[in-house]
């Protein structure tokens, strides 16, 4: 066994197969098209189904149907396609349908630049659907993360019966790198909890739990799925207390478990007065900058790389920021995630460095911000 030479999208495909994905549908869009190719190449021979939908709405729709019929499903797109997914993402939240959505971000707004990376959808992924209920968003920083976080994404989707978005970037998805399968973290695979005995109501939760157990459409016991506001039986409800309890549960099942899936890397340096915060492709430059500052300029800077973006890992941020005089957030947009960090660390100085020119933020630019900010 040796190193694999794969791009981020191929690593996502591998992670999905490892996690048990058996259904994939997407519509071609740069920079996510080669993920479609990878799935078309590998899923059918693994006994699964890979489809090219007639559009993005259909692609995610196929996945939602297949997921309710019991398969682990994934779809992939970029900003323009994510916009078209919006209504079905709300549905996946409301109907508690497990699905992994890969968003390979590219320069926007709108059609933008197909082959230029950006992290411009960071707030959109969280707030881009009706109802405003939480979603889980994980952000890989390199090919190894693409593999590992895809497995986590499936596990979380199955465990919490919800959509999980992988926030990748053209610069990760289409850049090849070395992946060491012996050393890469391979989380144990989790499957959705099946209803075992007793009467089945499709959205009924056991006392003390927040996630209903699952049965597939097509099995011997009848299953209902609906995008309408429903009670535990899956029929429309107009009862205000039942409605309120339902949406609160949808929020609670994600938010109250945030700590269990707050993935991050923290490089702490003794004597550091500045905490650098980055995610995605910018994490690499931030790492290089922190190393350079320490080794060649004798400036210790701590670095926090966030791999769970939503829900915001507030405790991780607070712990990492203790004693820091300055927090510097670098991201490939005009200042999106920094708003969350300002909210969480409201008593500390939080500065922002970002650009959205299609070019990566370089270590030199970050060093400049640290030393002259």
């Amino acid at each position: 066994m040796g190193l694999l030479f794969v791009d981020g999208n191929q690593a996502v495909a591998m992670g999905s197969l490892y996690a048990g994905c058996r259904f994939f549908a997407s519509y071609p869009i740069t920079p996510a098209s080669n993920l479609l190719s990878a799935m078309l190449e590998t899923l059918p021979s693994a006994g699964g189904i890979a489809l090219q939908g007639e559009d993005e709405i259909a692609s995610i729709g196929y996945c939602l149907g297949a997921s309710m019929a019991g398969m682990k499903v994934m779809t992939a797109t970029s900003g323009p396609g994510l916009s078209l997914y919006s209504e079905n993402i709300s549905f996946a939240i409301a109907g508690e349908i497990p699905i992994v959505i890969v968003n390979i971000m590219r320069q926007g707004p709108s059609t933008g630049s197909a082959t230029r990376g950006a992290d411009g959808d960071v707030q959109f992924m969280r707030w881009g659907c009706s109802g405003g209920l939480p979603v889980i968003v994980l952000a890989p920083a390199d090919v190894s993360d693409c593999f590992t976080l895809t497995v986590h994404a499936f596990n979380l989707a199955e465990q919490f019966r919800c959509p999980v978005i992988i926030a990748s970037n053209k610069e990760i998805g289409m850049t090849s790198g070395t992946l060491d399968m012996e050393r890469v973290e391979k989380p144990a695979v989790i499957d959705r909890t099946l209803h075992e005995s007793g009467p089945f109501l499709p959205f009924q939760v056991k006392p003390g739990e927040d996630v209903p157990s699952f049965l597939p459409i097509g099995g011997p016991i009848l299953v209902r799925q609906t995008s309408s506001t429903h009670g535990p039986d899956g029929y429309i409800t107009t009862n205000p207390s039942e409605i309120q309890a339902g949406v609160e549960r949808l929020q609670r099942k994600i938010d109250s478990n945030t700590e269990s899936f707050s993935y991050f890397d923290l490089e702490e340096r003794e004597g550091a007065r500045t905490l650098l915060v980055a995610y995605g492709i910018t994490a690499g430059a931030a790492r290089a900058a922190a190393t350079e500052l320490f080794e060649n300029q004798n400036i210790p800077v701590s670095l926090l790389v966030l791999k769970t973006l939503w829900p915001v890992p507030e405790q991780v941020l607070q712990a990492a920021a203790v004693g820091m005089e300055r927090i510097l957030v670098a991201e490939m947009n005009l200042g999106q995630y920094v708003q969350e960090i300002r909210r969480v660390l409201c008593n500390q100085r939080v500065d922002f460095y970002g650009k959205m020119s299609g070019q990566l933020i370089s270590p030199t630019e970050i060093i400049e911000e640290v030393t002259h900010g």
């Binding site: 066994m1 040796g2 190193l3 694999l4 030479f5 259904f23 190449e41 590998t42 059918p44 021979s45 693994a46 189904i49 939908g53 007639e54 709405i57 259909a58 729709g61 196929y62 939602l64 149907g65 297949a66 309710m68 019929a69 019991g70 398969m71 499903v73 209504e87 079905n88 082959t115 610069e171 289409m174 850049t175 090849s176 790198g177 070395t178 992946l179 399968m181 597939p216 459409i217 097509g218 099995g219 011997p220 016991i221 009848l222 299953v223 209902r224 799925q225 609906t226 995008s227 029929y235 429309i236 492709i281 994490a283 690499g284 430059a285 790492r287 290089a288 070019q359 990566l360 370089s362």
Partner: protein
């Protein structure tokens, strides 16, 4: 077999609504076929037809407006034994037009009931894609301006192999519906009925009038013989079984010792057709043979067969954090348009850096050593240039050796392609080069 109607949830349509009739027609068809509730899923759309799933004791899926066919397809592919019945109004058909066309073309075994009542009942009687021009509806004069859509004609043109146009009041409809559900492929039923609460207020429409309107149109009574072909789901599985490509989980075994101690940045600046990206990939694989980390980032035009082609390869024994090239150690300059894409990079190069320059290509002044090679005179074809330059680079052993490069070729290609690539290395060794002095 028993009725599959849900005794706890009787239909709640407006008095006289034809949907009520359709619910009972569907139930009779399912009963006649002897189906159990768990054999069937009803996938309903939005609007009054979206209530259908609640009246039956079957599996049920009620999703977004116009998208019912997409969920149905996912369910059918995952659970091929299910009878998948989609109920949709003329509204859902309009907004989901692309899915309708795709379903007709695909021929997955689904049965679509278009409960066509010529308007949007639930939202107040607005015009739909089937509203007649002369009808008076809630969208002011707009329907006057648009031609209504012939559901059956469209289905036929798009490839649906089973198409029915019928009044919901037709006596033998349950039998016809059972035939459609049994049909192995995509079956479309355009079922005409009345919405007394909205449409019929200003546009009286008796069952008789429906009947005679249908008689004037091209008849569709089931199988469309010109569209008969393999059902998608079984065909998919048959083709998939032939597909044996799997994932390479093994990777590239380490068989060489690392040749460099520090990060190296190599940039190829060329044009489409020079196999620049393939060359970068071979460099990467060669470096991985020595257990080194590699990244490769490409930049080329959307029109892949013309224009500049750039690849940036970073090789390092240490983990690579930042994946963009800053100060290249090597630039392979193969074409003007490629060079123009990264003109500024030459300035960043330091003493000790190397440029492999195809003769005739203009580059900016640089501190790096420039090796000029006349590939044209050396008989190196356009598609061989990147590899030829790579083999000159490998001669130095930095960042890979010729042995590593040869091994990478043998592992990446097979047969003729491998022979050709190995041949390029031999040929490239013969091409003379000289150090070019640049005047500052």
């Amino acid at each position: 077999m028993d009725s599959l109607l849900n005794p706890d949830r009787p239909p709640v349509f407006c008095p006289g609504c034809s949907h009520d009739r359709s619910v009972h027609t569907l139930d009779r068809a399912l009963k006649e076929m002897g189906l159990k509730g768990s054999d069937v899923v009803i996938v309903s759309d939005i609007g009054c037809s979206g209530l259908f799933d609640t009246f039956f004791k079957t599996h049920a899926f009620h999703g977004l407006h116009g998208r019912a066919l997409t969920y149905a397809a996912g369910i059918k592919l995952a659970q091929p034994h299910l009878k998948v019945i989609v109920t949709m109004g003329d509204g859902g058909l309009g907004i989901g037009g692309a899915h309708f066309l795709a379903a007709c073309r695909r021929n997955l075994d689904l049965t679509l009931l278009v409960l066509n009542n010529f308007n949007f009942g639930m939202t107040g009687g607005q015009f739909s894609c089937t509203t007649p021009e002369q009808a008076s509806v809630a969208s002011s004069f707009l329907n006057l301006l648009e031609k209504p859509f012939d559901v059956c004609n469209v289905a036929d043109c798009a490839g649906a192999p089973f198409v029915v146009r019928s009044s919901v009041y037709r006596k033998d409809l349950p039998e016809l519906l059972a035939e459609a559900i049994s049909f192995e492929g995509f079956a479309v039923l355009d079922l005409w009925g009345g919405c007394p609460a909205r449409y019929m207020k200003k546009n009286p429409l008796s069952p008789k009038e429906i009947e005679s309107a249908i008689e004037k149109l091209q008849p569709y009574r089931g199988v469309v013989s010109t569209n008969i072909r393999r059902e998608y789901s079984s065909h998919y599985r048959e083709e998939a079984a032939k597909n044996t490509a799997g994932v390479d989980w093994q990777g590239i075994e380490k068989t060489f010792e690392p040749t460099v101690k520090e990060r190296r940045e190599v940039v190829f600046l060329g044009s489409a057709g020079q196999r620049v990206i393939t060359g970068g990939g071979l460099l990467g694989r060669a470096a991985i043979l020595a257990g080194m980390n590699v990244t490769q980032k490409n930049d080329y035009n959307i029109t892949v067969m013309r224009g500049p082609s750039v690849t940036e390869v970073i090789v390092s024994p240490q983990p690579i954090t930042y994946t963009e090239v800053g100060k290249p150690d090597v630039i392979v300059a193969l074409s003007e348009e490629g060079v123009r894409k990264r003109w500024g990079l030459f300035e960043e190069m330091e003493k000790g850096g190397r440029v492999i320059l195809a003769a005739g290509v203009e580059i900016p002044t640089t501190d790096a050593e420039v090796l000029e090679v006349d590939y044209k005179a050396g008989g190196i074809k356009k598609k061989e240039r990147a590899l030829a330059a790579l083999s000159l680079l490998a001669k130095s052993g930095d960042p890979v050796t010729l042995e590593m490069l040869r091994e990478a070729i043998c592992q990446s290609f097979q047969g003729k392609r491998m022979e050709e690539a190995l041949g390029v290395i031999v040929k490239a060794a013969e091409v003379p080069f000289h150090v070019k002095t640049q005047s500052k």
